[in-house]
Assembly symmetry: C2
Homo-oligomer: 493 residues x 2
């Protein structure tokens, strides 16, 4: 059983299959009976809950409040903003009826044709339209601004090719929707929330990200600018992990949302929206995990420390439990989530394998000999290093180790990214290097034509025009036209 | 403005209209553009979040974990359980297509007839079917049991008559779905979760509830027993506030979910499900609020204490702010949520009215004279009593007062309920008394026929067969047949 648990595809053999197997073996999620929709299992959901709680705290610290808007959107709302409808109408779930009835031929239930809706409803793929239709009633004067609202919700996009967490038809996310009196304030908000995402990714997920702006071609449908955080997975592919959009006055115009400014003149409202989703789970899994299973940063691990007693009989267990109990209490009082696994229906070897696959950052094992010698065996999941240490002061050691693991995972991921980030000065060089994956910094002439040519020929897209780094101008590797700075190309999820 | 805020229908004039106006004036929710669906506004959502957090903690303390299952359910799943499909097929939202396309006649977008689903999908009205279809893969042996899972989700029921929070097409809820090896364990679980609901209603919402079992006619579609907590609103109507169902083996049989018992023989799994929803917001509002607006129990109030400075100029404000700052800090350090409202674009009178309408439990007002005399004006929202007290020791006084308000609201609601609870021995007496509302304890012969006759003639239903109280047998007030105990009748929401 223990072997079977850890018996899955290696990253080097098939990275994509390794990921799919890991998601199932670590008990994170599974395919459901509904095409493209997954079931998020309790262990996977517990990680998502930790992410949610932290993000929610960060949103509230930056002045946002939560609210809830309808799941269903009248079809006509989508058409109000021209780019938006192009982006979302082609992959949405359409509700056309509101009743089933018994099949006259006796085969279960059928759609009742008499219960057809006058106007079809769309399951929200994103909520700009329904929210701006609502904001119209909330906003009259500059005094009503800004509106800083976030929503935690499920959304639905009828994707053709789905992969658990990375791209599913239904997914869970948060979507912030803010309204402002000035362009500057909205732009500042969009950038501020990108910074929140960046901080969350790096400090909590231990996933280093590049912040930048999307090329026009990769913008959110309806945005004037889309800011993004881009992470690199272990196979060198990019994963867009969060986006924040400056929407200008597009949705205010589409839904006729104006306010009286301080000079008592009507103006259209300025908008942003920003979101991260259960896709972050994919980023988390793919950044840190290894051939033995999941590796979790301590700050997001549902179980940070597991303690496994190794005993021969009831009496032996009792002695260990008495020794361990004050330690469990102390760790918990220090805010650490501890599981003391004294279940007698699984052997220690099985437990070790199970917690390894599930990515529990620190494992303590304690047996009869440890009791006698005042020791405990300590294993850290990130490096799989094991050592026998003194039981005295173990709580301090665990706290220190959790910090160390959190930092180590970040440094490791950052080193990986740096080792796979390179530059290309000619298109030939680019085509050669892109085969090895990674981020390639190259000059581009700023046109969609060139971007699409590159995508077609190499499957690489512009991940972003990075905010930081080298700003030296140059010439486009494809057309030789001027380029104001290098941009990041990569193949992506 | 301040007057306008508080200018709404009195309870005694039109209770139902008072409720509708209150929901809007207190900024809790509003109707959306989608029929029967509401927008939950930030202030209303903040109350719901406090409820969620507390309930979630209670579920976890009783060993449950959260998970997430798909929003959409294949139509055929509904038909698997005969009672279930009868109960839910008639009011569900049906997804039939997965794409829109540009209208060939140029009017926005239309449903693409080429994108018709082979099998229609239903937006979940409740998740028993999709979840038991999933549990089939999770359960093989008695070692896999129990499964104690909860889901926070949105659900959809196409209700004809809707009212904000009380009955909406889309609503937010939690649904627990547990699987057990024995009948006894499942029944114990269903009762345990009813107790959790009862404790939450009474200790946090300050809403007294009667616990009992539903008559067969009022059971959840697919349950063998439905347990309920019933609350009484100020107009004497009952509000079913939470239900917990013992599902027997119905869903296990419908989805073929068996396990190998300890004797290695296959058995069907036993099930429960239990849920509370945003309907609790309706119960909370209607139980405590008055003609001046919302009244909130301190344990669920997003703002527990508001402090309003009364000043003539910048300097005056500065002096007050300096005095108040340490108090704000102290209250926050004691876990109390405080708002210091020094906004200069609203007058104190307007602020007073606004926080009164919003039900903030405690208001402190402090002006120049208070500074000189070392006093502060304190107002409690439940009784609207105002007094001027010493500023020294005000933090202790506030903490004591919040406790007192929490208790007082519960006692007041309980007294109200008791004053409107009566008995009836004859059907004549019953018909007379039911016109005044309230709970009527009466004998009933246990048949659906009699229950439906009573409902038709008086609009009263059996709210529950209460667990506690008088168990003396008698005879049915309608048919004269034997009755084992009195049951609770009421008109209801």
């Amino acid at each position: 059983m223990a072997k079977e648990l850890k018996n899955f595809t290696k990253r080097s053999d098939n990275y994509s299959q390794w990921y799919n197997e890991l998601v199932v073996k670590a008990d994170l999620a599974e395919q459901s009976a509904v095409r493209g929709c997954m079931v998020i299992k309790p262990y996977g959901y517990a990680i998502w809950e930790k992410m949610q709680r932290q993000l929610d705290d960060m949103f509230k610290e930056t002045g946002h409040q939560n609210a809830y808007f309808p799941l269903l959107i009248p079809k006509s709302f989508l058409s109000r903003e021209a780019d938006h409808v192009e982006g979302f109408a082609k992959e949405c779930a359409v509700v056309t009826h509101y009743r089933l009835k018994n099949d006259p031929e006796g085969n279960g239930v059928v759609v009742d044709p008499a219960a057809r809706l006058e106007e079809e409803l769309i399951i929200r793929p994103t909520s700009e339209t329904i929210i701006w239709n609502t904001y119209k009633n909330w906003i009259h004067s500059y005094r009503d601004l800004p509106i800083l609202v976030n929503q935690w919700a499920n959304v639905f996009r009828w994707e053709m090719r789905t992969r658990m967490f990375l791209r599913t038809a239904e997914f869970l996310w948060q979507e912030g929707h803010t309204a402002h009196a000035t362009k500057e304030e909205a732009e500042t908000e969009a950038r501020k929330m990108l910074d929140v995402y960046g901080e969350f990714a790096e400090k909590y997920m231990a996933v280093p990200v590049v912040k930048g702006v999307k090329s026009p071609n990769e913008r959110f449908a309806g945005a004037l600018d889309t800011y993004t955080i881009e992470a690199m997975m272990q196979d060198g592919k990019a994963l867009q992990s969060g986006t924040s959009h400056f929407l200008g006055q597009n949705f205010a115009k589409a839904f006729d949302v104006t306010f009286m400014n301080k000079e008592n003149k009507p103006e259209y409202v300025w908008a942003t929206s920003w979101g991260v989703s259960t896709r972050l789970m994919g980023a988390l899994i793919m950044t840190h995990s290894d051939d033995n299973g999941l590796v979790l940063p301590p700050k997001l691990a549902p179980i940070q420390v597991v303690i496994v007693p190794i005993y021969k009989n009831e009496e032996g267990l009792k002695a260990i439990s008495e020794k361990v109990e004050p330690l469990v209490k102390e760790l918990r009082s220090r805010g650490i989530s501890v599981k003391y696994d004294d279940a007698d229906n699984r052997r220690p070897g099985f437990k070790f394998a199970d917690y390894e696959v599930k990515g529990v950052p620190v494992r303590l094992a304690i047996g009869q000999r440890d009791l006698e010698e005042g020791t405990v065996e300590l294993m850290r999941r990130d490096t799989l290093e094991k050592e026998t240490v003194s039981f005295d002061g173990i709580a301090d050691e665990v706290v220190r180790l959790l910090d160390d693991i959190q930092n180590n995972l970040f440094v490791k991921a950052k080193n990986m990214r740096e080792s796979k980030t390179t530059t290309a000065d000619t298109y030939e060089e680019f085509k050669e290097k892109i085969e090895n994956g990674g981020f390639i910094l190259a000059h581009w002439d700023g046109t969609t034509e060139t971007e699409e040519k590159i995508k077609e020929e190499t499957k690489a897209t512009i991940r972003c025009i990075p905010f930081d780094g080298d700003k030296t101008p140059g010439v486009c590797m494809v057309t030789g036209k001027p380029s104001s700075q290098r941009v990041i190309f990569a193949r992506s999820y």
